[in-house]
């Protein structure tokens, strides 16, 4: 059932039911009124008729009185031998068009004269309404009566009956002149004669006629009712259509939007009512939906782009991770964080440069299979790199068994700390070599490798060198050559440092002067120092770290005696635990 149908039904029932009731009520009221009016009219008519009858009867009485007073009435004495009274009565009867006869009766009830001659001398005893005493004109004595044998037909003659309205008389309780064919369905009014209360006059209206009249009006009434219904229906349809149109419009627009996914549709309803407000809200909703949808589309595009970029960046990350293995982590990090541009730039900086190699590596490798050699070299470089990265070194390059790295770029802890870190690293590398010896021994390489290390601190030019197509982040300068020269001077397992470096680290490490060299192309001799060990007493602040270092690397073995363990402070224990964990982790790798 449609909304429209519902509203139409509602309006029709709300307006039509009272209308029909009203019309029926009016119809009934009209009928009642018409009935009452008819009755009133009949009452009036009857009243007039009764007045006429009363007047007629009194006229008759007066006539009889008049006759009774005529001298001629003295003829009663002469028994009306001249028929003068009879003639008079006859004349009067004709004159008055009387039904029934007039008599003059003497005191012996003998009819002296009559309008009907046959009745004369007969005896008369009947009661009559119209009796008038007669007195002699000369002495006033009672000589007889004039009697009218009154017939009700006389009254009937006064009735003006029409086809639909009849009079009849009820005399002494009996219906007189009652027409049998008068239908039962009738309206009746009745009234008694004032002169003769025993006689009632009844006026009857045939209800057929009355009904015919009503039926005629009823037809008009029905037509009016029908027209009213039609008009009400049309008006309600018109208003419902007006009312419904915006809703249909709304639903159409909604359908269009759903079908075409086109949010540019708008409802055009300019009504200042709830529907108008609804359509305004609807339009607003569509607008906001449209913008939300656009935003969503944009967002989804962005997301796609993001995913694409993410996958690209993942790829890049993967790629860069692969690449990073060929680069020093610091370089890699500074390049990839954007701290350092990949351009042909360089700067001068004071760095601590480290060189190491394996003494007699070429001799040793001559007798080895190349696969084993490669394994060995990789193992060595890997171990060294771990240590280097742990201490924050920037790995410049591997040249065969040689490692070149430096401290101070791209991150620097200050020249002094850089140098200290470098020495720390060198010491750890040396002890790592001991661990490598044990491992290699297990794999069957009985000949131990010995590494030598040369360290120098000085100004270098650091940056990207090479061509635009192929760059290398590296350092160049005299200091690099000096460091390399120092390394080549060092004996196996020796860490040689220049004086510049020694000055920076001497408060931390014990060193002894080893030699003086004049590198190639240098005019001045350079003093070299051998780093022995960490100064124990001079590191109160970092005592625990130092002690742990000592424990850890003493002669390449862990010095974890019960005595040492018991003497460790809580911080030292934590430090040791962390280092051991780190070592364990590395072992797992």
């Amino acid at each position: 059932m449609s909304f429209k149908f519902k509203i139409v039904s509602l309006i029709l029932s709300v307006s039509l039911i009272p209308y029909i009731f009203l019309m029926i009520y009016m119809g009934n009221a009209f009928q009642d009124r018409y009935h009452a009016q008819t009755q009133h009219e009949m009452d009036t008519q009857l009243h007039l008729t009764i007045e006429t009858i009363d007047r007629y009867l009194s006229t008759l009485k007066r006539d009889m009185l008049f006759i009774s007073r005529l001298d001629i009435m003295n003829d009663i004495y002469s028994k009306d031998v001249d028929r003068r009274i009879s003639k008079l009565l006859e004349t009067k009867k004709n004159q008055l068009h009387l039904e029934g006869n007039l008599y003059v009766v003497d005191n012996n009830h003998t009819i002296i004269a009559s309008s009907n001659p046959n009745e004369i001398l007969k005896s008369y005893h009947e009661d009559s309404f119209f009796v008038q005493k007669v007195h002699s004109s000369f002495d006033g004595s009672d000589i007889g009566s004039i009697v009218l044998d009154f017939s009700l037909k006389n009254i009937k003659n006064l009735f003006k009956n029409t086809k639909d309205r009849y009079y009849y008389i009820i005399a002494y309780g009996k219906k007189v002149l009652y027409k049998k064919y008068i239908l039962k369905d009738k309206i009746e009014v009745r009234s008694s004669l004032s002169a003769k209360p025993n006689i009632e006059i009844v006026l009857v209206q045939n209800k057929d006629k009355f009904l015919t009249l009503l039926t005629t009006y009823k037809r008009w009434f029905a037509i009016a009712l029908f027209l009213g219904l039609v008009i009400i229906s049309l008006i309600s349809l018109y208003f419902v259509n007006r009312l419904i149109r915006p809703i249909i419009e709304l639903s159409k627009v909604t359908d269009e939007i759903t079908k075409n996914q086109d949010y540019s549709y708008r409802v055009e309803i300019n009504a200042d009512d709830e529907v108008g407000r609804l359509s305004t809200s609807f339009n607003k909703m569509i607008t906001s939906m449209n913008s939300a949808l656009t935003k969503l589309k944009d967002e989804s595009k962005n997301r796609e782009r993001l995913i694409e970029e993410q996958s690209k960046s993942e790829m890049l990350k993967e790629l860069s991770e692969k690449l990073s293995r060929y680069l020093s982590p610091q370089i890699y990090h500074s390049i990839f964080t954007g701290d350092q541009d990949v351009t042909l730039t360089s700067k001068r900086k004071k760095l601590t440069i480290f060189f190491s190699d394996i003494v007699g590596f070429t001799d040793t490798t001559d007798t080895m299979e190349s696969e084993d050699l490669s394994d060995l070299l990789n193992d060595y470089l890997n171990e060294m790199t771990i240590v280097a990265l742990k201490h924050g070194a920037t790995i410049d390059k591997y040249i065969g068994d040689s490692i070149m790295l430096f401290f101070g770029d791209p991150y620097s802890q200050g020249v002094k700390n850089d140098a200290i870190s470098c020495i720390d690293m060198a010491l750890e590398m040396r002890s790592s070599m001991d661990k490598l010896h044990i491992r290699w021994k297990e794999r069957g390489f009985t000949k131990p490798f010995k590494m030598r290390i040369g360290i120098h601190t000085g100004y270098c030019t650091v940056g990207n060198f090479g061509s635009k197509d192929r760059l290398e982040y590296t350092i160049i300068g005299t200091s690099v050559n000096i460091a390399s020269r120092i390394e080549s001077t060092a004996k196996p397992d020796e860490i040689l440092i220049s004086e510049e470096t020694k000055l920076l680290i001497e408060d931390r490490f014990e060193s002894t002067k080893s030699a003086e060299i004049i590198p190639k192309g240098f005019k001045r001799a350079i003093s070299l120092y051998r780093v022995d060990k960490i100064k124990q007493e001079k590191k109160p602040k970092d005592k625990s770290k130092h002690r742990i270092d000592t424990i850890y690397i003493q002669d390449g073995d862990l010095l974890l005696t019960d005595e040492i363990l018991n003497n460790l402070s809580h911080e030292e224990k934590v430090e040791l635990k962390s280092r051991l964990n780190s070592t364990m982790n590395r072992l797992r790798l």
């Binding site: 001298d71 003295n74 003829d75 004495y77 002469s78 028994k79 031998v81 001249d82 003068r84 002699s136 004109s137 000369f138 002495d139």
Partner: protein
């Protein structure tokens, strides 16, 4: 001869005229005779009682010869004078005597009404009536 006959007829006529009509009353009436003067007074409604008895005069109808004879013989006046007289009397509240249209009715009336006095031709006389005067 013819003269004789005419004379005879005239005589007879006079005779007849002299004796043709009688003034009558009921046999029961105590009055036995009336003078012409009395009769005249009665019929002109000047006198209503005779010897203490109420008298009711009854006229013949105006068209009758009887009436004419009565008026000429007794009242001794013509119709015109008489009419004037009755008009005058009418205004005094006095009506002329009752009229009966036939001799029979006069007789019936006189017989039936006590004190009634009428006049009829002599030939109409019967036993129930009493002659009061002849003219």
């Amino acid at each position: 001869m013819s003269m004789k006959i005419i004379a005879l007829l005239l005589l007879a006529n006079i005779y007849l005229m002299a004796t043709e009509y009688i003034v009558i009353t009921s046999h029961r009436n105590t009055i036995s005779t009336l003078s012409p003067k009395q009769i005249k007074d009665i019929f002109l409604m000047k006198r209503h009682f005779i010897n203490g008895k109420k008298i009711i005069p009854v006229n013949a109808s105006s068209t009758q010869a009887l009436r004419k004879a009565f008026e000429e013989s007794i009242l001794k006046t013509d119709r015109e004078k008489l009419n004037r007289y009755w008009i005058k009397k009418h205004f005094q509240g006095i009506s002329p005597p009752i009229v009966q249209s036939s001799e029979n009715s006069i007789k019936a009336f006189v017989k039936n009404v006590d004190g009634a006095v009428g006049y009829i031709p002599r030939s109409q006389l019967d036993n129930s009536l009493k002659v009061l005067y002849e003219f």
